[in-house]
Amino acid sequence: MSKITDMTATHNWSGQKLVSADYMLFEAPRTKHFMTGSEVLKEAVKRATVDASVSYPITPQSEAAHLIGELWAEGYVGVYFRGENEFGVMSEVAGCSMAGARTITTTSGPGTLRAMENFAQWSGTRASMQLVLMARGINSPLTIQPDNLEVQYLLETGCMIWYAENVQELFDMSLAAFAVAEQPDVHVPIITAVDGFFVSHTREAVMLPEDDIALFPYNPYKAPLPPIDSEMPPGRFLRDPFVMKSNYISYATHASWQWEIRSAVERSKPYARHYLKGLVHVTGTEDAEIAFITCGTASHQAKEANRELEKLGVKTKVLKLRTIRPFPTDEIIEALKGVKYVFVPEFNVVGWLSNEVKSALYGKLDMDIHAGPRVAGGMSMPAEAIIKEVMEKINPGKGA
């Protein structure tokens, strides 16, 4: 078994050559593979010099968690164990991360909700762990199908939230996530979301760098809070919380603290622009009057609708949001110049993304923002459903 003491200045404990995130993401030669999202996440973790991973089974992320366990057995991951349940997992992830370990975990749907208290706790500690969220419906009634309603619950936890459209983006994002989350001025947890099954279980072509290179290890001494050790309890605010005192000072500290976490998320923008090549990816016709604002696999379906609508002579463009927190308001405003109608296709019934868009654009742009189409519970979103919604809006009474 590899040990942390095997780490050298140039190679990690498993003998991989240490490289920067820039080299890994932009310069290293790549070869083509055919993989599912779960398999590609294993490949990303393999190249990330991960110190610790904690797992608990829940569909559809179980396979990814299992594959990270295989990496531990192969000597690529420092510590790997199964938690008692998702609440336990996220608490243990907090412990690992605050102790200075580069830590990753995965969960889905009900597991996310069971662990919910931890996510706000994570961001409050300014730890830099990564959660790969393979979104699934929320019970009840019981479902294991893809539906991203759970992301709504995570929006205000103080964690960064990125959303990958496909297997390739999942690979690149989950590596870039460490690079951004570990910046001293950012240093908040990051949630990399994908749509369960649509990405986690779908095999796609993906370009990967060789597996003999890996990211430089995490340096906890560059954190904005002191890391814990035998003399430094896990944040004095956990042991002697000022919130237990009822006075103006304790309230003001908590308010300033909350501002600081949100500020840290905002500070991630320049880094995310660099590593993700933009917070928003725009495709379609530049001077279109119709735009789709999407994230995840809804982007793929919107692009399909864009191609079909072009054939009908209707110009559209697709704004795929790579980051949800921070929300890319400026980039959206820039991309929506000249647009009259906005559609927000989503895989959930509540329309959390359209709410986000409306909130961000309120008073800034005057246009018709249509919250839909929306599907849920595992339904697919055929391009025809999107086209029908568009045609009924721009051509009322005449149908698609």
């Binding site: 300014r126 910046q183 001293p184 001025d185 240093h187 001494y221 560059k222 954190a223 904005p224 809070l225 002191p226 035998s230 003399e231 309890p233 004095r236 605010f237 002697d240 000022f242 005192k245 000072i249 304790s250 003001a252 500290t253 308010a255 300033s256 603290w257 501002w259 600081e260 949100r262 500020s263 905002e266 500070r267 320049p270």
Partner: protein, 237 residues
């Protein structure tokens, strides 16, 4: 220059500088009142504030108080030299981040959970934060901007701080030496005569006799003392 971030009091709890659109300066540059400027421009404004405002004070944090890695001793020595060139400068440390209850000794220390108490009690109108972990520096700087009229300067080893009036990034001992030279130049321009003098001893620090220390001397921190083999501690926090 449009001052986006100014001395307070900004009010009950102002929104954070990043949410007001202030972004950190890129490498090689600095922040002055929320604007990206050259390092020298920020240093000159900061120097004038330290030389013309009442009770200039340096707040060193744990990262320069404890000799925990190679460059710390050099930085700490440079800070002392800087302090000696600022007329009537005091040094009040931020040794740790735990809220101080029931009452902080405002002459002896500053704390990120209620930094305004030390600033207000000592009537500090210009200050330097150095060696404070970034999260706690930001907490402090925002609360100082909220409730006091103190001009704040952040000397940061990483990317800097939007909440400070002047923010210098990528700090090394050489950066502090450069700042010291600028302080001397600005002091001469202002016609202030001053012989380099170290700040006074912290008035609240009592001489310690380490040979006679007992757990009770550690007060609220006594539970952090590791027990020796065979020692049985009955009194715990």
């Amino acid at each position: 220059m449009l001052k986006k971030i100014t001395e307070g009091p900004a009010g009950y709890m102002p929104q954070s500088a990043p949410s007001m659109g202030v972004e950190l300066a890129p490498e090689g540059q600095a922040l002055l009142y929320g604007n990206i400027v050259s390092e020298e421009e920020a240093m000159r404004d900061a120097a004038r504030a330290l030389l013309t405002r009442d009770n200039p004070t340096i707040f060193p944090g744990p990262q320069v108080l404890w000799d925990w890695k190679d460059d710390v001793a050099d930085k700490a020595a440079a800070i002392l030299e800087l302090a000696s060139e600022i007329p009537n400068c005091k040094i009040i440390p931020m040794p740790d981040y735990r809220p101080k209850y029931p009452k902080i000794d405002v002459k002896a220390e500053i704390n990120p959970n209620h930094p305004n108490l030390t600033i207000l009690d000592n009537r500090i109108k210009a200050s330097i934060f150095v060696g404070v972990h970034c999260h706690y520096a930001n907490l402090s700087l925002r609360m100082i901007r909220a409730g006091t009229d103190c001009y704040t300067i952040a000397l940061c080893a990483y990317m800097g701080h939007e909440e400070a009036m002047a923010s210098i990034r990528d700090l090394h001992a050489s950066t502090i030496h450069k700042f010291k030279e600028i302080v001397i130049e600005e002091r001469n321009k202002l016609g202030i005569e001053w012989e380099p003098t170290l700040p006074p001893e912290n008035p609240s620090l009592q001489k310690e006799d380490h040979a006679a220390l007992s757990p009770s001397d550690y007060g609220e921190y006594r539970s952090l003392i590791m027990t020796r083999k065979g020692e049985h501690v009955t009194e715990v926090e």
